[in-house]
Symmetry: C2
Subunit: 336 residues, 2 copies
């Protein structure tokens, strides 16, 4: 039986297949944000979108393209999952701001301004120094705001993230990270960032990736759920959601690509992460099928039912509804 609210997750970066789509459907996931690129250039990213077009054509009873929040309603009504595309790095726009609108037209709804390293737009969380949002970064944020592509700062450094929150005229997202105070790694976010994010109307997706969890894969459901409760107190329950960062059925090769891309020859040394291997998941969240455990965990730490529903999807739904269309100024212009 379907839960009363929509179930929405993402990003996930699974090794997509019919069986994985069946698991996602079986889990009742109505909307899913998936990663289509890490270090790919524009042409390579288009080929990954072609892969998605082929999947939509091949599995029309399981998945459908997600372009706006209302597609989640349509997906639920037809027993499918609406798939929303996201980029973990701005490499797909190369040095060409016109590609923001092109990729939005092709379905991309999220773009990280950085992936760990300095990009043309901002600094990543593993750089020693963070000079903030670049000249091109300011232009691209404005363009993303205009067309309705969400600024995602999950892998960005602190100063760049705070500047992005301030510069963006529309709320931004940190789609997959956790509070630094709970698990102090460079990928997790300071209370300063999380408070600024919430104050600007933004949203945090809690990650279930072991490297972001206190205790790694040994993290307990209770510890995770308590962390969610503390973050709700810090940010407000309307500003938190799930961004599981699941990579089901993937191999170590995807981790090598994420971390090293083509930007180094010898294998990077990402601080504190060791070799590029796919880490194990905590036993209570091994796949999309385990969302009932998260639901139970949140109930057990005292969340009201309406808050559980908000965290597991309705907050994303409201954020999607406000974020994916053209900016209000554009809308009024088009209506003239």
């Amino acid at each position: 039986m379907a839960e009363p609210g929509f179930l929405i997750d993402g990003p996930q970066y699974g090794n997509w297949s019919e069986s994985l789509f069946r698991e996602i459907r079986g889990a009742g996931i109505d909307g899913l944000h998936v990663t289509v690129a890490y270090h790919e250039d524009f042409r390579e990213t288009v080929e990954r979108i072609v892969d998605w077009n082929r999947r939509f054509e091949t599995y029309p009873s399981l998945i459908m393209p997600g372009r706006c929040a209302a597609d989640i309603d349509r997906a639920r009504a037809s027993g499918r999952t609406a798939i929303f595309l996201g980029l973990q790095n701005p490499s797909p726009i190369e040095d060409d701001i016109g590609l923001v609108e092109i990729l939005h037209t092709l379905g991309v709804r999220f773009m990280q301004l950085t992936y760990n390293n300095q990009s043309l737009l901002a600094a990543g969380c593993y750089e020693a120094d963070d000079a903030g949002i670049t000249r091109m970064g300011r232009e691209v944020i404005r363009e993303m705001n205009r067309v309705g592509m969400v600024v995602d700062m999950s892998h960005s450094a602190e100063r760049s993230t705070l500047q992005a929150i301030e510069l963006s005229e529309r709320p931004i997202a940190i789609t997959h990270a956790n509070p630094h105070a709970w698990h102090p790694v460079l990928r997790n976010k300071s209370a300063t960032v999380l408070k600024a994010l919430a104050a600007s109307g933004g949203i945090l997706g809690f990650s279930l990736y072991a490297n972001h969890l206190a205790g790694g894969a040994a993290c307990t459901l209770e510890s995770f759920s308590e962390m969610v409760a503390r973050t709700a107190e810090l940010m407000g329950v309307r500003h938190i959601a799930i961004g599981s960062d699941l990579g089901q059925d993937q191999t170590d090769a995807i981790i090598k690509w994420m971390r090293d891309g083509r930007w180094n020859k010898s294998g990077s040394e990402t601080p504190g992460l060791g070799k590029p291997v796919l880490p194990p998941q905590p036993p209570w969240f091994c796949g999309s099928r385990d969302f009932p455990n998260i639901r139970a965990g949140l109930r057990n730490v005292g969340f009201a039912e309406a808050d559980v529903t908000a965290i597991l999807g309705m907050n994303w739904y409201r954020f999607y509804a406000a974020s994916f269309g053209p900016a209000a100024a554009q809308r009024s212009q088009a209506a003239r």
Copy 2:
């Protein structure tokens, strides 16, 4: 005062500017098919689409993106011209059938299978031999049918054109050409082709490009209008329209690019065409502003008012309405 029916033309390949858009608006053109690529590869074509996105952003009171026939209604209602994108060659899809859907999503609604030469899909009208639609060509026609991109055979050879008409499950277009019997050049079409086109529900756009006109730029409005009347008798008045092939404000450079692209080093010898120079227009059709002359010419050779309205736009409108959406099989699948 707006004429009762929509005025629709194309392709045109003007050197686009605010003044040209103002002329097109002043002429009351509600829908316009424009050429975005001749020999460009995918990445270059995307940049030409970026140029159009910039124009839509810069001149929102004059033009708007045209994606479906209903956009022509919206354009008329808001005093603008809906712009529909077309490719004169399949070079933008390279050797990648997935790019058909990608380019359709980006707004492309017409694609010629060849431009004068042999392509990966078919033979052009200046090749000595025509082996017909290729293996990839058959696949691409099926994919164009699926997504709603019109097969355009304006620059194709006879056998390839007849095969395309037969293979395509949806009506095709010859967007800009005239009857070979009226002016016997390789770019104009035989009665066999024109009858097969009409029998399959397809449509011919009459060209106003001097090389396609009997007498060239000295062609009279009476001769042109009589030719339209004879073609209406051959094909039926529902299967003819205007595809003016206007290149306003262009220079000889565009003709050089059309004819030679990058496929030869020394300048091609296109049979019967001489040097690559932009030919003069007949004095009664020098630009979009001169559509009233065509209207008068058609009236003068005895077309009923409803037929004039059909030829000047409503036939294109009906063809657009049937052609730009997903194939019926797709639509019923999506509705399941």
